[in-house]
């Protein structure tokens, strides 16, 4: 095994190891982490890289997630490139620090292995954990396979560290379905990543020789300006992702569609809309249904925060009906989060697309090919004017 990643290579790795490699090839200075299923092996792999002398980084094996994030906040404020990772209850134990990172405008990159909440006792997959923190000011990018985890981390640093953005990015991948999925992953050389990801001087808030206080905020206007600039940077990050993806494709020959991917949408009359690992399963169903003559396409959302309203409107402008698959529940609002966002994004733009929301995949419930086939069939019925149920809980049918 190469001690240092000097050449590109293909290795069979889990999603967690792909995340660790993603961090590794970006040469972070400080890593603050704490283990939690199904993310633990990210921690183990990064620690091993350092123990083997392959990665020259300070690792903070914190006593909990709140400190793990606090350690990278301090390091990032001092100009270090930082990485962290967590999941589910760890994310919530981190919350106090998590919410500070975007307010300080720190370009931290981390990964979240999407998982259910407790109780009941489960470590299985859903999007419920990450959906609880969507309005914290972090950029959230969701991915579909192990290669996309690694590639999204590299791109995340470019976006986070861009002087126009300076916001933290959370790369989110489904627990079990991706965290433990093993497949061959192309791991670029550190040199290639360095060429794509310049080790420029990052802006610093302070450091040991430049101690500062950022607790005090005096007037309402100052607060409003901070928030306004933060919101403005989030808006800009949408276009930034598109630019960064184009450059990434030139460097590495892979691309994922930027804020979202349209799969077989050119002449689609109906569409599936989903995000995460099951987008891969949805592709299989789209292909099968296309062979049967049904003009169905898939919109795979990649960027959940900020929500890519413009790309969504363009992608859906010609469809007659939409089937949404949600892997989370927006408590107190009758559907799931994707459905809620879509209703909001489409309103007032002349796109009165009838859509049905399917809540699936909670607690590791498998989103199977037959389940997605059913969503397509019912969506086709909606396009033909049939009566339909607005919200369907697939596991309860």
């Amino acid at each position: 095994m190469d001690m240092v990643q000097n050449t590109e290579k293909v290795e069979v790795v889990s999603g967690n190891k792909s995340a660790a490699y993603g961090a590794y090839v970006c040469s972070p200075d400080v890593i603050g982490i704490y283990p939690i299923t199904p993310q633990t092996s990210v921690v183990e792999d990064l620690t091993q890289f350092i123990a083997d002398g392959r990665l020259d980084a300070e690792i903070v094996e914190a006593e909990g997630e709140i400190s793990a994030m606090a350690s990278v906040i301090g390091a990032s404020a001092g100009g270090a490139r930082t990485f962290s990772s967590t999941s589910s209850m760890g994310l919530f134990f981190m919350f106090d620090s998590y919410i500070m990172a975007p307010l300080y405008r720190l370009p931290i990159v981390m990964v979240n292995s999407n998982r259910e909440l407790l109780p009941p006792n489960t470590v299985a997959c859903s999007h419920q954990d990450i959906m609880e923190v969507i309005e914290t000011g972090w950029i959230h990018i969701h991915v579909e396979n192990c290669q996309e985890i690694l590639d999204a981390i590299i791109m995340a640093y470019r976006i986070a560290e861009d002087p126009e953005i300076l916001l933290p990015v959370d790369v989110c991948y489904d627990g079990f379905y991706l965290s433990y999925l093993r497949e061959p992953v192309n791991i670029p050389s550190i040199e290639a990543v360095n060429n794509f990801l310049p080790t420029q001087d990052r802006p610093t808030l302070g450091g040991p020789n430049n101690v500062f206080s950022c607790i005090y905020c005096g007037a309402d206007q100052e607060m409003a300006e901070l928030r306004y600039r933060q919101q403005d940077a989030m808006e800009k990050s949408k276009e930034k992702l598109e630019q960064v993806e184009q450059e990434f494709a030139q460097h590495f020959g892979r691309s994922y569609g930027g804020q979202l991917e349209e799969y077989r949408m050119e002449d689609a009359e109906i569409a599936l809309f989903c995000m995460g690992s099951h987008a891969g399963t949805a592709r299989v169903v789209v292909d099968q249904k296309r062979e049967q003559g049904i003009k169905v396409g898939l919109v795979k959302l990649r960027m959940f925060r900020p929500f890519p309203q413009e790309r969504v409107l363009t992608a859906l402008k010609n469809v007659k009906a939409l089937g949404v698959i949600d892997r989370s529940v927006a408590f107190g609002w009758k559907g799931g989060h994707l459905y809620r966002e879509l209703r909001s994004a489409l309103y007032g733009h002349g796109l009165e697309i009838p859509m049905a929301d399917y809540i699936a995949g909670l607690g590791g419930h498998d989103i199977t090919i037959p389940l997605i086939e059913r969503v397509v069939d019912e969506t086709k019925g909606i396009a033909e004017g049939k009566q339909y149920q607005e919200i369907t809980w697939l596991a309860l049918e």
């Binding site: 069979v12 999925l181 093993r182 061959p184 891969g280 399963t281 199977t368």
Partner: protein, 183 residues
Amino acid sequence: MIEIRLHGRGGQGAASASGMLVSAFTEEGKYTCGFPMFGFERRGAPVTTFARFSDKPITEKTMIYTPNCLVVLDSAQLSFPNVYAGFQENGILVANSNRLPESKPHENCKKLGVVDATSIAIEEIGIAAINTCILGAFAATTGWLQLDTLVNILPVYFKGKMLDTNMRSLERGYHETQIVEYE
């Protein structure tokens, strides 16, 4: 696409076995992926893991419901009906057991490979970590993998003495499997 479902218990190495299959199929130039499904990590708890390989890219991220091949690491589960759920016609069963079954294990079973992996693993490795042995049996029974390929990928998963003992366990699994074909 060929789908393989592995049934074992925490500690036997079913999760790693799925990973080793992916490494081996990759080495042989196939598209492949695999993953485990379990609850909290516990020794002795039932574990189901999955592997797929194909000549075309594989994008689905679901568990396996219609396996072409079953690998049963835990002999007690050979009598569990749900282990055979969805077993496809002309299916291949690879089982860890110290005896051949008296009758055809399932109506769709075309080929059966049986190896006493627990005894071999305890003799060679010292613990009942039987995954490398059962993979030897898998290669011998299915013919979908060369033994050499498994030999080549094993150093990715084991180092030092563990590599030597698992290598012996793998090779004995390959050579000591009893194979039965049914009409």
